[in-house]
């Protein structure tokens, strides 16, 4: 008998084993839903999959009579726009400050403590300030994402820059590189894949801030919709919306992973096929 740590499932087996927990959860939900609906056919808490599907279909196809907009797509585009802009700005700031902090000791001495302190401020606590400062429009929501995500990205990139072997920086200098050239040709290309990786991890946090901001003040958006229909206990809308958000988050995550593998093959050389 092999040791447990040496027992690896085959490729197909891994798929099946990965699917198993999902199936179990689905069965659990169905049985609970059936018992509740058997007692009270009008129960709204655990709707059947067909109710959810028809509600979701309605949201995804029916045009609003007054505005001609389809709810699901308006919400999706509004939320995606906010998160992409917010995370994009964070990534840009994170990369620039991370490189400067990691590469230039004088700048690090000034900025590093500030970043550390800033990263400890709970962003939700300053959301009221953002609403006061930026109004309840798009700017406040994007600012919340930026404030929540950027310090994490900066700290991650700065740490990674400091972990680059000194040998590489010395080598670049013996080839005649100036400070600017070291940042541009040694730090920037090595930190960019790291940035993609860190951004993937930060996406979850970004979604959290987005939904929270939308829940408090918005006219459209995925988070706004969920909190709106909560008043009517519309679980048949909330559950598909949550699944839809999860799918979007998954796709964004995979997109970043794919870009990283394509553009920076050397960065992924150390990864085995342990998945």
């Amino acid at each position: 008998m092999k040791r447990l740590i040496n027992l690896a499932p085959s490729r197909g087996g891994r798929w099946l084993l990965g699917l198993l927990p999902f199936l179990l959860l689905a069965m659990l939900y169905l049985s609970l839903s059936n018992t509740r609906l058997a007692e009270n056919p009008n129960d709204r808490l655990l709707p059947t999959p067909s109710t959810m599907a028809s509600s979701f279909y309605h949201l995804a196809t029916a045009e609003n009579v007054r505005t001609g907009e389809v709810v699901l797509w308006t919400d999706t585009f509004a939320s995606l726009e906010r998160i992409v802009i917010g995370v994009g700005i964070s990534a840009l700031i994170g990369l620039m400050v991370g490189i400067l902090n990691g590469g230039i000791p004088i700048i690090r001495a000034k900025l590093s403590p500030l970043v550390t302190v800033a990263s400890l401020i709970p962003p939700m606590a300053i959301l009221p300030i953002l609403f006061i400062a930026f109004g309840t429009g798009e700017a406040a929501k994007i600012a919340l994402i930026v404030i929540g995500v950027t310090p994490f990205l900066i700290r991650d990139l700065q740490g990674h820059a400091l972990r680059l072997p000194d040998e590489q920086l010395i080598k670049a200098q013996t080839l005649g590189a100036s400070s600017w050239q070291v940042l541009l040709r040694v730090l920037l290309p090595q930190l960019t894949p790291r940035l993609l990786n860190a951004t993937r991890l930060a996406l979850g946090t970004a979604w959290l801030f987005l939904i929270a901001a939308e829940a408090i003040a918005a006219q459209e958006g995925l988070g706004y919709r969920i909190f709106l229909v909560r008043r009517y206990l519309s679980m048949d809308v909330i559950l598909p919306y949550v699944a839809w958000i999860t799918l979007l988050a998954f796709l964004l995550d995979q997109l970043l992973a794919w870009v990283s593998r394509l553009a920076f093959p050397w960065y992924h050389s150390g990864e085995g096929d342990k998945s």
């Binding site: 080598k171 013996t174 080839l175 005649g176 600017w180 050239q181 040709r185 920076f264 093959p265 050397w266």
Partner: protein, 264 residues
Amino acid sequence: MSLLAAKRLEKHYGNHVVLENLNFSVEPGEFVTLVGASGCGKTTFLKMLLGTEATSRGSLTLDDQPIPNEPGPDRGVVFQKYSVFPHLTVLGNVMIADELHSAKLLAKSFGAAKRRAVEKARSRIDEVGLDHALSKYPHELSGGMQQRLAIAQALMMRPRILLLDEPFGALDPGIRQDMHVLINRLWQEQQLTIFMITHDLKEAFELGTRLWVFDKTRHDPQAPEAYGATITYDLPISRDRPSAELKEALNQGGMKTHSQETLL
């Protein structure tokens, strides 16, 4: 005029004396091999030549000028590892030297300048025998190939001094032999002055024209950090004399020190 000279050179970290009383002068074209027990300050010495460690006392001069206090293109270096850039291909790793030189702002050349850089880099890569692996990344190369690449890269800017910190320490004996042939050829062709740290005494005798043994001459058992290492033996190696004979001469010279126990 000697290329590199030191007078009563010392290096301490606080009260910890690492190196003391170093006196030497090295002429252009010499191949100096540095041996000594681990932790006796050989690498610190190399870092002082590189400019990443400051001297504490005494003088270290390059062309009669104090040695620059940061690395520069006149002193190339090959480390035991991390010597090449993991994010660049073989061609990119060698080309970068030319690009850093010709494109100050972007550090990347385009068009005709790029073609010239590629051509120059390719001839360097040919010299070290990596012409079949131009578009490979360092992680796809074996240890020996990575060190060949590091050497090609270091020589791209035609440095006058080449510093080698145990460059072949992690390689198999067979590959090591190939690397000896390569470094010996490049040294002669390009009239380099080489400083090489090694743990392999045979290698030190085979390659060098001059052997330095680093060791402590004074010991204080109460305060082991009070005295630093110095060059205890500075031996010219003549190439026609077999190294075994030299080793014997060393023994008869009464090399009864710590380094003898660890090295011979």
